[in-house]
C-alpha cells in the first residue's frame, strides 16, 4: 500500500480459521455478497488482500478506504438444508470485511 492510500477499514484483521458470521442484511444497491450466504456462518480460509470497495466504486466514488477481502468457506450442508452430497463439500465465497463479524470458537 502506498503512502497516499488510507489504512484499511477495520483495524482488526481476521485470521485463517476464525469463525465468522455474515451480516444478515439486505441493503439496496450494488452489493457483492450473495443472498444465499447472508446470515450464515463460515470459516476464514485465507486473506486475499485489500481492494478498493466495489460497493462504492459502483457509484463512481473512489472506493477508499480499501477493504480487506477474505475467502470464507462454508459447509454446503450449512447453506442448503436439503444439500445432497458429501459432508466435506464446501462453497468458498469472497467476502469483504464489512460483511463479517467474529464468532467465538
Amino acid at each position: 500500500m502506498s503512502a497516499t492510500e488510507t489504512a484499511p477499514f477495520q483495524p482488526l484483521a481476521f485470521q485463517p480459521g476464525d469463525r465468522v458470521a455474515i451480516a444478515r442484511v439486505n441493503p439496496p444497491g450494488h452489493r457483492r455478497t450473495p443472498f444465499y450466504v447472508r446470515g450464515k456462518i463460515g470459516v476464514i480460509e485465507r486473506a486475499c488482500g485489500e481492494f478498493l470497495n466495489p460497493e462504492e466504486l459502483g457509484y463512481g466514488f473512489t472506493g477508499q478506504p480499501r477493504r480487506r477481502l477474505y475467502r470464507v468457506r462454508f459447509r454446503q450442508h450449512d447453506i442448503w438444508p436439503a444439500y445432497r452430497g458429501s459432508t466435506g463439500d464446501t462453497i468458498d465465497v469472497d467476502i469483504y470485511e464489512h460483511w463479517l463479524s467474529h464468532l467465538p470458537d
Binding site: L69, Q76, R84, G88, D89, V93, D94
Partner: protein, 217 residues
C-alpha cells in the same frame, strides 16, 4: 426483443465507416445498433479511436483456452512454477504474457481429495485473459443458480461424476478475484512433454466441470 436469434453468419461486407464492421446478414437488433452507435459516437468525440478498438478486438481474439492450458501444463511439470502460480497467480501468468489487470488471479488446485469448480452467481466473472469469453452455459442462469447448491448433479450433467470421498469445492467469484482450476494431472501422462500435456487441458477442465482425459489425444 429482436427476432434475430437464428441466422447464418456471412462475412465480407464492405462498409466505409470506421471501426468494426457489422458482418451479420440479418436485420440488426436494437442492441447491435446501440453498440455500433456507441462506437461511432465515442470515436467522433475523440474518446476512442478505430485503432484502439481494432487492437482491443485483436486482444480479445488472442484470449483463448490454450493460454490457460499452457499455464496448467507448466504447473504440472515445474514444481517451482506451480508454487508461484498458487501463491501469486498474476505474477505467474505474466510470464505467459497474460495481464490480469486489477483482478487477482486465484488458482485452486484439484487433488485426489478435492475437486474444484468455479462460478460467478452475481454476473459472469471469468478469467478471460486465460480462457477467453465464457461459454454460453457458464453465463446461463441455470448454471449460475444451480452449481452452488447442487454441484454434483450439475457436474454429472457434464459427464463428470465425483466420488463420494472426494470433496466438491465450489468457488463463487464475486468482485475482484478470478478463479482458475488447476486440474489434477491424470494418471497415464508420465513423461509427457509440456506441449502434449497442454493438449488435453480443456477449457471445461479449467472451470472444473470436466477433468482432463489422457485418451483425448
Amino acid at each position: 426483443m429482436s427476432g434475430n436469434h437464428d441466422h447464418d453468419h456471412s462475412h465480407g461486407h464492405d462498409h466505409d465507416h470506421p471501426g468494426v464492421k457489422p458482418e451479420d446478414t440479418s436485420a440488426p437488433g436494437r442492441y447491435e445498433l446501440m453498440t455500433l452507435a456507441m462506437q461511432e459516437l465515442l470515436i467522433e468525440k475523440g474518446i476512442l479511436t478505430p485503432e484502439k478498438i481494432r487492437r482491443g478486438i485483436e486482444a480479445l481474439d488472442s484470449w483463448q483456452p490454450s493460454r490457460g492450458a499452457a499455464v496448467v501444463a507448466r504447473a504440472w511439470t515445474d514444481p517451482a512454477f506451480k508454487a508461484e502460480l498458487l501463491a501469486d497467480g498474476n505474477a505467474a501468468v505474466s510470464r505467459f504474457g497474460v495481464d490480469m489487470g486489477e483482478a487477482k488471479l486465484t488458482v485452486v488446485e484439484s487433488t485426489s481429495n478435492v475437486h474444484n469448480v468455479i462460478v460467478c452467481t452475481l454476473c459472469s466473472c471469468y478469467p478471460r485473459g486465460l480462457l477467453g469469453l465464457p461459454p454460453d452455459w457458464y453465463r446461463s442462469k441455470r448454471y449460475r443458480a444451480r452449481i452452488v447448491s447442487e454441484p454434483r448433479k450439475v457436474l454429472a450433467e457434464f459427464g463428470t461424476v465425483i466420488a463420494d470421498d472426494v470433496a466438491v469445492r465450489v468457488h463463487d467469484s464475486l468482485a475482484d478475484l478470478r478463479y482458475l482450476v488447476l486440474p489434477k494431472r491424470p494418471a497415464g501422462t508420465e513423461g509427457w512433454s509440456e506441449e502434449k500435456l497442454a493438449s488435453i487441458v480443456t477449457r471445461d477442465s479449467m472451470v472444473g466441470v470436466a477433468v482432463p482425459m489422457p485418451s483425448a489425444t
